[in-house]
């Protein structure tokens, strides 16, 4: 093969053979997106502008080709626009489908300093809520508006507003399918009870929109909340909640997963790297007292009776980390409750009342009380009844003792 293997980028220059555009996340944010935002010229116009609403993923693939060699991923700039003039959601619908956010946003660091966030989205063909999930994945990178002080609550609130507008740099690729048979997800037959519970609560919290639209809405918000507080409890909760619903339906085998709510213990959070426990609690306090939109969001997530699970994002990047967390929980169960008495800070006390909620939820769900669970939930919150968690575990034990011999279950119900 002669020199034809040299490739040109947009006819401007030549990229020698063997070289590919594989920027690091830091390069994407700190070099390319920064230049884009500040209107500086970028050498070799390798990252093009794409109107995400006009191009399907397979069109982007065509438009963002670099040279003629095969590519596994494609890069482009996109300008985010709000879906509705009054709202804060981004419109990511195309003619053939829509991009939907998944997971939680990842903080991108450069030299231990936070420089931006990465959102993961999936392309669905069709229209929400009946879209058909495709293998197209997008990583959307945005710069932090204010990288100096992420602890400052006011910057968080501002960050939320501007997060839905402006330039982002994106990478799309096709998911490889080697993880398709994840053990947890083979049980996609969600318990109708829990699913119903959730939907009813969705209706409760919003009457103007359909329940499924509301789910999407809530998901969009939860992604934002996460950014504000950097490590918001309620956001994590949304993702782990389906694990609970999925496994409660499978009581005999799944009790170890009821452990998950108790992850918010001093042990696991204090081991986090970049999120002080007090810090995220502070954020929650502020949003609570805020009468504006954020306060509403907080209310929504409370209504949903999602367990508040606090997981440090950096520590939970893979299953090994998850295993470690669970293991640390098993060891720390008694320790966690012992430390209750050590805290006199009122914010921390509040955190523990939340903990109690966590413990209550699975019980409530198991009793299949849907709307009434809301009330009992709030009742226990106010009582600050730390003993209520024992109720759950004894309940768990009694219901599982019939068939479950899971050692984790027995360990977790060990006396406090």
């Amino acid at each position: 093969m002669p020199d034809g293997m040299s490739i040109s980028v947009n006819g401007q220059s030549q990229v020698p053979p063997g070289f590919r555009f594989h920027p690091t996340e830091e390069e994407l944010l700190h070099y390319y997106l920064k230049k884009k935002v500040s209107n500086e010229r970028i050498d070799l116009d390798v990252i093009r502008d794409v109107d995400l609403n006009k191009l399907e993923p397979w069109d982007i693939q065509e438009k963002c080709k670099i040279g003629t060699t095969p590519q596994n991923d494609w890069y482009f700039f996109s300008h985010k626009d709000k879906k509705y003039p009054t709202g804060t959601r981004t419109n990511r619908a195309t003619a053939a489908g829509f991009w939907k956010a998944t997971g939680r946003d990842k903080v991108i660091y450069s030299n231990c300093r936070r420089i931006g966030m990465r959102k993961t989205l999936v392309f669905y063909k069709g229209r929400a809520p009946h879209g058909l999930k495709s293998d197209w994945i997008m990583h959307e990178y945005r710069l932090d508006d204010n990288t100096t002080d992420t602890n400052n609550v006011s910057t968080m609130v501002m960050g939320e507003a501007s997060q839905e507008e402006g330039w982002v740099v994106c990478r799309i690729f096709k998911k490889k399918n080697h993880h398709k048979d994840s053990p947890i997800l083979s049980s996609t037959t969600t318990s109708s009870i829990t699913a119903e519970t959730r939907n009813l609560q969705m209706f409760d919290s919003c009457t103007n929109e359909g329940a499924l639209e509301q789910i999407l809405h809530y998901m969009g918000r939860s992604c934002k909340e996460e950014d504000e507080t950097n490590n918001s409890n309620s956001t994590c909760a949304r993702f782990l909640q389906p694990i609970n619903t999925g496994l409660i339906s499978n009581i005999n085998g799944g009790y170890s997963f009821l452990k998950l709510p108790s992850l918010e213990s001093p042990n696991s959070t204090s081991s986090g790297q970049n999120c002080g426990y007090g810090q995220s609690m502070n954020a929650e306090m502020v949003t609570d007292s805020d009468q504006g939109t954020i306060g509403n969001k907080n209310q929504v997530s409370n209504n949903l009776v999602y367990p508040n699970i606090h997981i440090d994002q950096t520590s939970l990047t893979n299953w090994v980390a998850l295993d470690r967390l669970v293991a640390s929980q098993l060891n720390g169960q008694t320790e966690a409750s012992r430390q209750l008495s050590c805290f006199s800070d009122p914010t921390i006390t509040m955190a523990y009342s939340n903990d109690d909620n966590d413990m209550q939820i699975p019980g409530n769900l198991l009793r299949s009380s849907s709307s009434s669970s809301n009330k009992s939930y709030h009742a226990t919150t106010q009582q600050h009844d730390y003993n209520s968690e024992i109720d759950l575990w004894s309940f768990a034990r009694s219901s599982s003792s019939l068939s479950s011999t899971d050692p984790i279950c027995h360990m977790s119900t060990s006396p406090i």
């Binding site: 053979p17 070289f19 594989h22 920027p23 993880h179 990047t317 893979n318 299953w319």
Partner: protein, 190 residues
């Protein structure tokens, strides 16, 4: 590292496909044609341990590239040796022609055969017989005397096996979140 200064904007990295390694770099090296860019050094005479390749071989993203020659026995370094894993893959060009072979080796610390297996992996690319013979044919008129040498070159990629999340793929957790989204799609009557 070579006489060609590769001056590309940030984000461009040496990530050659197997075909490029064989067709562009190895083939040209074996045919004594100049490589453009001449980025892969020839470390044939230097028995570097894999952890010593930094600064000597072409380094890109924790992978090191260099030219060497075929060895009859195990490739021995200062502190160990490379042992074939017994895995060989054909390197096929985009036109479907077999252009080379990719062999997998693993590095053992110590003396053969009692060395301790490490996490260091080598991909050793060979020109396939037809490719090398055609290359020597094409240049046989000029350098018939050195004909045998041409096919002795290999190009090596060395890296340490690692399960890093470099953000270029979905993490396991991402995959789970992704699948959990399916649960949100469940709609119920009423």
């Amino acid at each position: 590292m070579g006489d060609n200064n590769v001056n590309l904007p940030p984000g461009f990295r040496f990530h050659p496909t197997d075909e490029e390694l064989v067709v562009h770099f190895l083939h040209r090296k074996a045919s004594l044609l100049p490589c453009h860019p001449d980025v892969i050094p020839d470390l044939d005479l230097y028995p570097y341990d894999p952890w010593d390749l930094s600064g000597k071989a072409l380094e890109e993203g924790k992978q090191w590239y260099f030219f060497s020659r075929k060895t009859q026995n195990e490739r021995v370094t200062n502190n160990g040796y490379w042992k074939a894993m017994g895995i060989e893959e054909a390197v096929v060009s985009s036109s479907g022609r077999r252009v080379g072979t990719k062999k997998y080796l693993v590095f053992y610390v110590g003396e053969s055969p009692s060395g301790i297996k490490s996490n260091w992996i080598m991909h050793e690319y060979h020109l396939s017989e037809s490719a090398s013979s055609s290359s020597s044919r094409s240049s046989s008129k000029r350098r018939a005397a050195n004909k045998i040498d041409y096919s002795k070159w290999v190009v090596c990629r060395v890296y340490e096996r690692d399960d890093d999340d470099d953000g270029t793929e979905l993490s396991c957790l991402d995959e789970v979140f992704l699948s959990l989204d399916d649960l949100d799609e469940i709609s119920l009557p009423n």
